[in-house]
Subunit: 173 residues, 4 copies
């Protein structure tokens, strides 16, 4: 199992698609975006769910946390049942988020990958995407890495997604 953590617009999804292309075995890709899509529409803008503030801030409530914990247990079970799984997530709680994953995964082996991108560059890519709340990229660029321990870090500021993916694939050996 591979878990990528990085801020919004740091390039996680592109790396995931490249990983799926370069790794010879089939890997399933899930992440915070597909998890949020699975929630009821009303939770995507509510106190108990997830709120995207106008300044780019993101906050989540108790219902969100409860569903997320169950979802993490489900992902762990897929891995235990034999699927290769790559996750891209945004550790809004930094080390606390990593701890949540560890609790759900039990003893499953994980390659922890930090995806860095300079704040100004991520903010520019956010503009280029055009579908994200302005400010999220800058707010999250450092925050999500606070206290997190990685096996490997990649930086998309000046390195293409495919090159980052090959670096990660080489670590899986």
């Amino acid at each position: 199992m591979i878990i990528l953590n990085g801020g919004s617009s740091s390039g996680k999804s592109g790396i995931v698609r490249c990983l799926q292309a370069v790794l010879p075995d089939p890997w399933l890709a899930f992440g915070c975006d597909s998890f949020v899509d699975a929630m009821p529409a009303r939770m995507q803008e509510s106190d108990g769910g997830i709120v995207f503030a106008a300044d780019g801030g993101v906050s989540v409530g108790e219902d969100f946390r409860a569903l997320e914990a169950a979802w993490m247990h489900g992902i762990a079970a897929m891995a235990r049942a034999g699927a290769r799984v790559v996750i891209d997530d945004v550790f809004l709680a930094g080390a606390g988020s990593q701890q949540r994953w560890r609790a759900a995964l039990g003893g499953i082996g994980v390659l922890w990958v930090g995806v860095r991108c300079e704040s100004a560059v991520a903010a520019g890519r956010e503009v280029a995407r055009g579908d994200r709340t302005t400010g999220m990229a800058a707010l999250q660029a450092e925050l999500v890495h606070a206290g997190v321990v990685y096996d490997l870090e990649v930086d998309t500021t000046r390195t293409e997604s495919l090159v980052c993916a090959r670096t990660i694939a080489a670590h899986l050996g």
Copy 2:
């Protein structure tokens, strides 16, 4: 847990979104579409993965079945961990598909719902959607229900998604 089964363009996704809106508790929605999205792009048109033929036929290979089994175990684990989960699926193997779900779910209680739609109407909705291979709706309309046992059936031919969702919600008690 709720599992909806119906052919392409029978209206499953609309019913799922309405269910998430009318049920007071938050339900997570997953299904064959989000599962296929999680696969590597190359498996979405390959012998070992899933192939959408020009006539609307769909066939899946061994790699697909192996990943699907792991995915089903993961969904079961989410439910066991406390999440309410609604699935929309296309039982290409009819009763065989239902059997695969039963094997993965163990003793978890499931409301099995058949989603019917007259073949000609589903084929027309396929045209209106514009993003599906022409012919899938007609080919699957009967096929996916062969030998499947339901707690409840709804028919979208002349009944709106929201009304079908309310019927299903009422069955949950």
Copy 3:
């Protein structure tokens, strides 16, 4: 040229795709959605652009109107240059919107089609789509038809998109 007018979630887009499928000649489809997509992201939530209020209300500003007028002239020029064009629009200003189109189109022949859908049914389909502000369908259901003169009206409440499209195609005769 064909112009369809109807409220949000009344089924215009589905009818357009069916029209493109049943008409033997190729028709180009444009509409208010593709026009809004062409605007800068910042105008999609601003006073001068278009604002989608939480209650489903939609208001547009001066910059929007100016760009829209130029866009309408461009659509007219495509038709004059020989393209068959079908438009789906939401006449927020009712007869005033129709007048704007007439001014832009000059003498080009248009088949004006009203797309009706009972308010409660459109509101239910809005829930089933899951990606629209709740309330838009109900607010617009009557409003957009105020004072508009049609060659033909279709009602999607109990008639499929493909059947509506065939009715419209027959009128082109």
Copy 4:
């Protein structure tokens, strides 16, 4: 009016969104993608329309060319009616494509911008996007620039979209 030309995955769309963000006046964005979306679904895989071959090759037929000519005339009319318009296109016929635009635009002033990207880098970004036929980026990287005359060229190989957009905006004066 601004016309950007570059191969698939060279970064045109990102530059367009950044241009819309950095330019103080509102600019409308259209391009080959939105034009293809406007065509009937059946033309998106047919001899008279547009065909995306498995090797990444793209060919277009007579019906496509006829509709495209009308569309170009429409875009010209929008500009003449006062709209600022930015186009991103793929000049499959190189200088011939530029000539088609010139014929449609008459005397309208255009800033012609070439968007370059090294073939290998564009091919990697194609993998990272995951939704394009593999091979298109490499096949088009040089081909689309053959014989085309530009006012300005940008290269996204090692320069971010936002920086390219600022360079273009500076040229507008």
